[in-house]
Symmetry: D5
Subunit: 127 residues, 10 copies
């Protein structure tokens, strides 16, 4: 598994609730069965806890390095999505968090996997 200790955070800069979205278009891991590379896009959306509540945001460069850590790992679409979700929830303790992975496809089938943590607002679900 990728090493979640790579993830760095900084304090939420405000008490106003707001939403952060980071779309990583260059994600790659390996198929655990065949060893062939998989290529996907990873979307992270979350609402940090407020400054008053000790909330934190993920530092962008550390997020990039964390994602790169999956490069040589053999892992299924479903598992990598849930793993990233769990690691980021542990690192950020957010109000809510959402991970969507989009895979270019194998055998003529392309796939999206969506994992939600906490009370994701309905306008972000299914997108």
């Amino acid at each position: 598994m990728a090493d979640p200790s790579i993830l760095e955070t900084f304090p939420t800069p405000t008490d106003q609730p707001f939403v952060i979205e980071h779309v990583a278009e260059e994600f790659t891991s390996r198929c655990p069965k065949t060893g062939h590379p998989d290529f996907g896009v990873v979307t992270l959306r979350y609402q940090p806890r407020s400054a008053a509540d000790g909330g934190t945001c993920v530092e962008l460069k550390s997020l990039k390095l964390y994602y790169q850590d999956f490069r040589e790992q053999g892992i299924y679409y479903e598992a990598v999505t849930n793993a990233i979700c769990a690691d980021l929830v542990a690192a950020l303790n957010p109000a809510w968090l959402q991970i969507i992975t989009s895979w270019k496809g194998r055998g003529g089938i392309r796939s999206d996997i969506r994992a939600d943590y906490g009370d994701v607002p309905s306008h972000y679900r299914g997108r």
Copy 2:
């Protein structure tokens, strides 16, 4: 009819609810009236039951082979959509499941057929 016993499954990797979407862009069957080939896109969306609940996910290669089994079959748009929905519900026993088929058209008319099983969240309906 296609043979649903081709479908293989694997255990849901987590107890967190999440959503899986597989879009097969190269589906073909035959018109039961004229025998001419039909070409469509088949979208499968579902939420597997949780690991604790004995949930299962569909294995991607078996899904591809199951779809290929319709290649020489004569079957209407409406019937193939409901048949795929019923077979996958039987194989996966999911929390909910949705099948959308999109057909390139005959006689200047293109068609979408949408079948839902269980309590499909509203943000997935009509898309």
Copy 3:
């Protein structure tokens, strides 16, 4: 007016509720004032009544012929939309039905007309 007796139906193939959408991209009628041709796209969406409830679906080729019957008719955008809606409701007795016509425009203005019958789900309204 076009002849609704052209419309043929077949029994709904299942008791599961599902939704059918047919988009006719090559519709033409005439402006009743000037006689000039109008060109539009006609979207039909409906949920047939279930098989148990004696529901029926529209046969695709007959729908095409019914639409072609408007070719030489002089009729306003608003009227043709409501006429198609009424004819299809009479022919299909559906759970709900929706007609949207989109017109390329006259005088720099393009137009959409939307007519709903019955309880069209909110996720189909306004699209």
Copy 4:
């Protein structure tokens, strides 16, 4: 101001509620400060009152002429949007009505102004 008496109407052709949308892609007025031309797209959406209720629809050519009447007028984005909305509400007495103006921009900023009259359905808001 443009002359709303240009607007002609015709009786709603049905008692069924339906929605009309006219998108005028070639609207121009002038900036009241600089006198420079502004170019925008004006979207009108409304539900006419029913035939039984004495409802009326706007005649398309008169709408075009009414819009052309703004060509040499100096008027702010916000004001022209509300003026069109008020004139059309007065002319049509609709169930509800919505005006959206989209402006190509000045100084690297493009703008949309949205005005609603009556109970505009939620699926039309914010689009």
Copy 5:
């Protein structure tokens, strides 16, 4: 920080509620860590208080100059979004207001930050 006193306002021209959206496609600031330029798009949406309520709208040219004031400032994505939101709320005292910033990306990751003030209608959230 940018100087919010640059922002000029004018009185809301009507008592009818309406919504204003200004999309600035040419926003640039600097990364506070590396000093490298960041490029983004800033979307402002708000409903001004009514004329009767003493509401005001932001003057477009002053908004442009206010945005240009960030050009040489070192500031994080999250902070600039919340700063713009706070300054505009202070200047306009709107019914509600929303700021969305979209950044072209660093290290293969592009980002959106969304901040809401007051009761932003659900149809504007998550867009």
Copy 6:
């Protein structure tokens, strides 16, 4: 066949060579075999002879009426393209002229037919 005497012309306004392109997006005729409507886009490009040379240009409204004259005619793609080309060459006596018809397709095949008269410059060929 459509009546080429509908076509009106006006004198070329200059001695400088220039090129005129009219794209008619709403062309319809009928298949001579099945009688079903065909829908296409007709592109006309030509260089009129110069004013000094007694050149003429086609009047736009008469071109539209000439095209509408094919509406109920049964004619093959190849034949209608060559017929339009011949009629316009006869009416305009141009330096060169090009007709391209694009058809939405039958049986999953869409078609373009291209006919050239005179010395069409190479940069217009094959487009």
Copy 7:
């Protein structure tokens, strides 16, 4: 191999040179190694010999049936392209002819194969 005797022709309707293009978007054959279906788009472009020269054009429905004949055949991209080219050249004896096949891809690689017969004009090459 597909049966080229399915191909029907009709006499070229004119002595003027012109170009015909048919794009078949729903072509499928099988990989000769794995037996898995391949999906492609087949573009045919040709200039028929003139009427005076006894030229012929391919009849569209027979072309469709000829293409369908590859449905269950195991054949490589390169071979199917050259086979279609040779069969159509034999059937039509054209001035020139071009076949381009575009394949959706296997293993993350999509492919185009282009075969020319005779003196294909330069503006059609490489497109």
Copy 8:
């Protein structure tokens, strides 16, 4: 006619040949027959004479004002294109110059008019 004396120029900044392209997306004039507004896009491309040769370039704001001068003028597509070409050639005495006007269309037909002055390189023709 528009007043070409509005056009201002500045000296070509270099002796190296280079090409300038200005695309005005908000051009409007009036149809000389009906008086209705026309809306188009005007593309100007030219190579200024070199600095050593006393070459000049058009100043952008004066070009904008010159174009605005056509706003209330009744003038045909073909004539306005040739008029702009002639005025700019007179003002700039360029190595070569090209004007392309694109019109949104009347009666379902959209039009492009292209006028060239001097030896326009082949790679700019027909675009």
Copy 9:
């Protein structure tokens, strides 16, 4: 460097000249300076020597494996392009061959590198 001995070939299936294009959308290597991953698209175009001339084509799966061999290699854009070009020329001895690599970019700059071997036809250059 990647191992070119992975590349397998098969005999050209015809004596007719034709062109093969393979676009690999999921190529990744590493920056030799920073070690960070680079992501690109690799386009291979070539004309194989004829069957009579002992020509060969590259087998698609072996091409994929050859490309994957660069995954952990540190190599510049320019070098990887020329390396792939040289390896494929050595393996195929083609009539001509072209490699284009497109890179998503670093620091806001995206790059294309194009290498040609032999007499690449002009219509393929610069695309």
Copy 10:
């Protein structure tokens, strides 16, 4: 002016001729008249001299820093294009080189400026 001594180079890695293209999508300078920021895209294309000929390529990060050096400079579109061209020619002594700048526009007019050095192949001109 920007400081060309920022530009670093590295030796051309091969004797085979090849072409390098770098597209900088985040370029900004200032209008020398008004001081307002301009935003553009800068495309650099060149063929380096060969290794044997002592050719050099521009290092990507130094190119980025060189472009950033224009950020606070007041300079016309035409001048900045020719300045970048001259600086890169001096730094690289290439076989040929091309600079294209694309500007989002002022007053409804967007602009492209193209400067060529040496014998730029025709397939790159005008793009």
